[in-house]
């Protein structure tokens, strides 16, 4: 007999799930819609219905329920906006770029990169950002988006190729 799963109706278990999944799911939805308020609303509503259905959803199925519910809720309100991203406040070692040109143009380049990412299609953008920002593996992304790993890899490649097409002329070698 498998051990009985913890009940989601138990508040401590519910809180555990919330603290574990709320942030990553919200970011994922944000990369799709670009509206943090909308993303938070969607994810919170999904968690409210998780509570309402707590007796019929097992603990191990909660993650996939949340992602699926959010995806469904997202399709119900297709109001896409620009994704606002910012760069980490870390000091970058530009010597890697082997060209002093980059030193001057790096801030400008970063703005253009963000604009380019925003002009990607939603499909490519969500996959690219889940990988590059959230550091998720292609397997994890496939699980979240419901795609095959192969499809995730195609979208990743296409996204990078398009970014280079848009930004290539900015990068003087």
């Amino acid at each position: 007999m498998p051990k009985k799963e913890p009940s989601i109706c138990e508040e401590t278990n519910y809180n555990l799930l919330f603290r574990k999944f709320y942030e990553p799911v919200t970011r994922y939805i944000y990369y799709k819609c670009g509206d943090l308020q909308q993303a938070e609303d969607i994810v919170q509503n999904a968690f409210v219905s998780l509570w309402r259905l707590c007796a019929s959803i097992t603990f191990s199925k909660a993650k996939s329920y949340i992602y699926t519910a959010c995806n469904n809720l997202f399709y119900n309100e297709v109001k896409h906006q620009k994704v606002v991203l910012k760069h980490q406040q870390t000091v970058t070692d530009y010597t890697n770029y082997e060209s002093p040109d980059f030193l001057i143009e790096v801030d400008e380049f970063r703005e253009k990169l963000k604009a380019a990412i925003n002009s990607l299609s939603v499909k490519e953008r969500e996959v690219f950002l889940l990988s590059r920002i959230e550091k998720k593996t292609y397997n994890e992304i496939a699980e979240i988006t419901g795609l095959t790993v192969k499809a995730v890899e195609r979208r990743m490649s296409k996204a990078l190729l398009e970014l280079r097409n848009m930004l290539g002329k900015e990068i003087k070698i």
Binding site: F18, L85, H87
Partner: protein, 304 residues
């Protein structure tokens, strides 16, 4: 030469994941575009997502939950609840529709019952009649314990169940006595009795009676217009004294201590229903049985 990143649609993804082969990677690093890809990839990895206050969100969700009704039971369980409720409802309905109505008389009581079809049953003391509460008209059946006089309206299919067999009735008047002895008397019309043990059928017309002796049915005739018990007198012809003592204890609230007498002797005679002393006198004295009442008048000690 076509570059790998153009022809292979997962090449760049594999490069970013670091899963290219050594040969693929070194070849790629020699291309003009490599540095551009590398810069874009490195800068992309320095991006940050939005900041999210998880605890504030949790509080908000709890607030939304509080305004909800308490969590519903799962759909499957709810369906089972409905099924169970429906089943209970159906079963109770069946039980109610199938339930019996029973009329009971106690010691010394008599009762007249008029049935739905206008038939009348006079129930003697310490007896009962039960019949279906609903839809009785579809299947006119009553179950008798003890003794009753039936006046049945014309019609088909009236059946009286007794412990010894079923009495099938057309329009008629008859008396059934199903006590320690068993007796059917027909006072009019036709009655059919089927013996439960032998499955044998007996047809009785006016003036005919059946009685059971030692488990065997005997046919006989009699001469009276109505059973005397209806007018407050019990009459017996050649009955064991035990039957008379039983009958006395149905009419009067008494029991007998019969340990010292022979109860198989036969008695012919009668007793009244409204005078205990008189009844005892008329039944016991002719048989040469002495009797003595105990202090509370309920136990009669007999002696020969």
């Amino acid at each position: 030469m076509t570059e790998h990143y153009n022809s292979d649609d997962t090449f760049l993804a594999r490069w970013m994941a670091g899963t290219l082969s050594e040969a693929e990677r070194t070849a790629f690093e020699k291309t003009d575009a490599y540095k551009q890809f590398r810069l874009i990839n490195e800068e992309s990895q320095k991006l940050e997502g939005p900041e999210i206050d998880v605890e504030a969100a949790l509080k908000q969700v709890k607030l939304k939950i509080e305004t909800l009704p308490k969590p519903k039971r799962s759909k499957v369980i709810r369906i089972w609840y409905s099924v169970a409720a429906a089943a209970i409802l159906l079963i109770s309905l069946a039980v109610i529709l199938n339930s019996d109505q029973t009329y009971v008389t106690g010691i010394g009581e008599k009762q007249n019952i008029t049935l739905q079809d206008g038939s009348v049953i006079n129930l003697n003391a310490n007896s009962s009649i039960s019949l279906k509460r609903f839809f009785w008209m579809h299947d006119k059946m009553v179950t008798l314990k003890g003794e009753g006089y039936f006046t049945i309206k014309e019609g088909t299919g009236f059946i009286v169940n007794t412990s010894k067999g079923a009495v099938n009735v057309l329009g008629t008047e008859f008396n059934i006595r199903d006590r320690s002895d068993f007796e059917i008397k027909c006072y009019g019309g036709t009655v059919q009795f089927s013996d439960l043990n032998t499955s044998q059928m007996y047809t009785l017309t006016k003036g005919m009676q059946l009685h059971m002796e030692n488990g065997v049915i005997k046919e006989d005739t009699f001469n009276e217009d109505a059973p005397s018990w209806k007018t407050g007198i019990s009459t017996f012809i050649d009955k064991p004294i035990s039957v008379i003592l039983d009958e006395l204890s149905y009419i009067y609230p008494i029991t007998f201590d019969r340990s010292t007498i022979n109860t198989n002797r036969l008695f012919t005679g009668s007793f009244v229903h409204d005078d205990l002393k008189n009844a005892l006198h008329t039944t016991l004295v002719p048989m040469g049985i002495g009797y003595q009442m105990t202090a509370n008048n309920h136990v009669i000690v007999l002696s020969e």
